[in-house]
Each structure stands twice: as C-alpha cells, then as structure tokens.
Symmetry: C2
Subunit: 97 residues, 2 copies
DNA sequence: CTCCTTTTGTAACTAATCTCCAATTATTAT
DNA sequence: ATAATAATTGGAGATTAGTTACAAAAGGAG
C-alpha cells in the first residue's frame, strides 16, 4: 500500500509488558512460553531485559487463537510457524542493527 | 508484498531507550524534543513511561537527516510532517487498543 | 489416582525510566 | 562583542518495569 520500512520495523522491539498488553496474555505466561521455546526474544548482548519484535508478537497472537480453538501450546506453535513462512523469511533476511 | 498487520503495528510502541538505540539519538535529547512538541509519545493512561510508535520513530529518523543537513529542529519537524502525510493518515485512522 | 502439561505466585534484585532542578553550548540578531 | 534565543546536557532522588529462581497449583489424558 505505502512503503513500510522493513528495516526499521525489524528494529522495533517491545518489552514483555507491551506484548502482554497487546495480546492480553499475562507476562508470566509469556515467560513460560519462552522458557519452553515456543517463542523467543531478540537476542542481543546489549539487552538485559527481553524484547520482542513484530514477527514474534504476531506469532503470539496467532498461537492464542489456535489455543482457544483447542490446540495444545506445542501444536499451536508449530502450526503458526508453518503459516508464517513468508513473513519469517522477510525477517530473517533483515539484520537488526 | 506480504500483508503487514497495520492494526498490530500501530499497537507496537517501544520505550525511549529503544528509540535512542534505533536512531542513535540520546534519550535526553528525545525527551527535550518531546518537551518542545516536535515529537510525541503515545498517550495512554496505562503508561507511566513513554512509548513511541512506528510513525514517530520514522519521524525521528527523518528529522535527524534534515538536521544534519542544516535545518533547524523546528523546520525539520515541519518538513517531515509534510512528507509523511500518507503514513500519518494510515496511523490516524487506526485506533490503538 | 498418576503422569505430564500448563499456568500462576512471590520474594529479592537489577535495570530502565521519570521529573525537576539547573547549567552549558550554539546560533542569530543588534 | 553583547544580548537573546535555540539546542543540548547533567545529575539526584524517586518510581516503575523487568529479572531470576524457587515452588505450588490447576488441568487434562490414560
């Protein structure tokens, strides 16, 4: 539609509190999901606190829907990953900073 | 290209520290710019700490270029606003939460 | 009931941000 | 050069947000 700056978008990483607010999923649960490996935060030495990018937030949103539909967390994670292949590639091909 | 979820993008608001890191502009200066009205953070009762959305980060990036080119902060702000009309409309028409 | 998944609670700590005071440096006009 | 305005910066003291690491409690399937 117009030109979203993907490079900028990739750099935008929000705190766990923001993700919780956006997705309406408790912080505690998000940390659990990360512990289990279903989601992951941006890895940077510079950060001592977690940050999540657009791709990961979107994943959480989609996972939530599937879970509400009856899927397990594990299954939801896998299904979402499969569906988000295109976006994932875009993000993978961008370097953050 | 693919479908960016604008509604989600709009909700993504990052801390001032993130903006500082992304734009390479000191936190202190960003706060000054906000005090002066050149930029503004998301207004939400829920937040006690500042958050900036995609539109505003992009504005900072563009302002920085113009300032380096010799424009005053004030002039840069105005020029950028003028140039970002399209994106601004998109953001204005989206409600956050 | 039992096993395993999933979620939640809390304490003690660290990191990040806040406001509010003011001072300093740059630029422009007279 | 001096005065006035623009632009930037410093720091103390307080507050908010996020961290880990322990553990406990629900929930579902066999």
């Amino acid at each position: 539609m117009d030109g979203i700056d993907y490079s900028l978008l990739k750099q935008m990483a929000v705190t766990i509190g923001e993700v919780a607010k956006i997705t309406d999923i408790p912080i505690r649960k998000l940390r659990y999901w990360e512990d289990k490996g279903y989601i992951k935060s941006v890895d940077e030495q510079a950060h001592t606190t977690r940050r999540f990018d657009y791709y990961m937030i979107k994943k959480v949103v989609l996972m939530k829907e599937l879970i509400e539909d009856g899927y397990t967390v594990e299954a939801s994670s896998q299904k979402v990953e499969a569906r988000m292949g295109k976006l994932r590639q875009v993000f993978d091909n961008l370097t953050r900073k």
